[in-house]
């Protein structure tokens, strides 16, 4: 499900960027400034990985931030970070449910 093209095929997903945890740019779809997003996503993810370690929360798998209008969902998988930009923000919970659903539905 974290496949970039599958994610972006959802109508609520406006764009997506994939990076590594160091912020290295791996790919983007429908996003004009993928490299900048990759840097932020990598930094944010690695910082929260560190926070999780300090708190004993285990492995970071997903993080999101949102406003009333839009949201961003970052999925950490196999050493990569996939940042997806969603509109409207209300789609975030639906997308997360899709990600949580058994893989046979994907």
């Amino acid at each position: 499900m974290a496949d970039l093209k599958k994610l972006v095929s959802l109508p609520e997903v406006k764009s997506a960027v994939r990076s590594d945890l160091a912020g290295g740019f791996l790919g983007a779809l429908r996003h004009p400034d993928g490299e900048a997003v990759a840097a932020v996503a990598g930094f944010l993810s690695s910082t929260l990985v560190q926070v999780g370690d300090e708190l004993g929360l285990g492995t970071l798998s997903r993080l999101s931030f949102e406003s009333s209008a839009r949201a961003c969902l970052l999925i950490l998988q196999d050493g990569t970070v996939t940042a997806t930009f969603l509109e409207p923000a209300a789609a975030l919970s639906a997308i997360e449910k899709l990600l949580d659903a058994p893989t046979q539905g994907a």
């Binding site: 997003v37 932020v40 996503a41 930094f43 944010l44 910082t47 929260l48 560190q50 926070v51 999780g52 300090e54 708190l55 004993g56 929360l57 285990g58 492995t59 970071l60 798998s61 997903r62 993080l63 999101s64 931030f65 949102e66 406003s67 009333s68 209008a69 839009r70 961003c72």
Partner: protein
């Protein structure tokens, strides 16, 4: 603030609740034994870095959620003050019911916004005045609306409810300045009684006639207020209360 954080801590699955300012300083904290104050303070710097990154990506962000294998980290934006974002951070274990928690945390965040923004500052001010641990519950002021830093210089910034005589009309530059004013009113009240808030307001007008009160003017304000105390020994006692800081 402590009562609000305690209400968050009472949500099943929540291990700790804390409020951080834009510099990562801990303004309030409630947590289970493992998540003590020292750990939360240590956490502040890293969390603020993450929040800065979120802000860089999406300036109008309102909430953030991080899911780990053994728990969750939830952050709510409490508004911007003097250019820095204040946040409510909730640390939870895997048993947290996200739907239930979201509502409760939103309620808590709204209450905290009122406290930080002045809407509920009278209760905070009184709690500061009655506690001996101001570091854990500083009085905060100024607008809590995201992106409203320009409003800080405005006299419309509320520091406390209108029922708090005098202080409601004082504009402050940052939370630390507001906390100092609360302390000044409290200390002065020991010597001059309930008129202390009026004296503080008048003192701020004299010391900072054209700008929000800030810590840069603290020494002049304390000097000014000390002048309201006629008994020399009490005046000295008042000054000493602020020299300890």
């Amino acid at each position: 603030m402590e009562a609000i954080l305690q209400a968050v801590l009472d949500i099943p699955g929540v291990s700790a609740a804390l409020v951080l300012d834009g510099a990562g300083r801990l303004l309030g904290q409630r947590g289970r034994a493992l998540y003590d104050r020292a750990l939360c303070e240590q956490l502040g710097t890293s969390l603020i870095k993450a929040i800065d990154a979120v802000h860089l990506q999406q300036e109008d962000w309102e909430s953030m959620s991080a899911r780990y294998t053994d728990g969750k980290l939830l952050v709510r934006n409490l508004g911007t003050l003097a250019g820095s974002t204040h946040v409510l951070v909730v640390i939870a274990d895997a048993t947290l019911n996200p739907s239930f928690a979201t509502v409760s945390i939103r309620v808590a965040a709204n209450k905290l916004k009122k406290v930080l923004g002045g809407g509920g500052a009278s209760s905070l001010t009184s709690s500061v005045a009655s506690t001996s641990a101001p570091a854990s519950s500083p009085a905060l002021a100024a607008s809590s609306r995201p992106g409203s830093t320009a409003g800080l210089a405005s006299s419309s910034v509320a520091w406390s409810q209108p029922s708090s005589v005098g202080l409601s009309r004082i504009a402050v530059a940052d939370p630390a300045s507001a906390a100092l004013l609360a302390r000044a009113a409290k200390e002065l009240a020991r010597h001059v009684g309930p008129m202390s808030k009026v004296y503080v307001e008048e003192g701020v007008r004299r010391v900072c006639p054209d700008a929000p009160f800030s810590l840069a003017s603290a020494a002049r304000l304390i000097d000014d207020l000390a002048g309201q105390i006629k008994v020399v020994s009490k005046r000295t006692e008042f000054r000493k209360a602020f020299e300890r800081e």
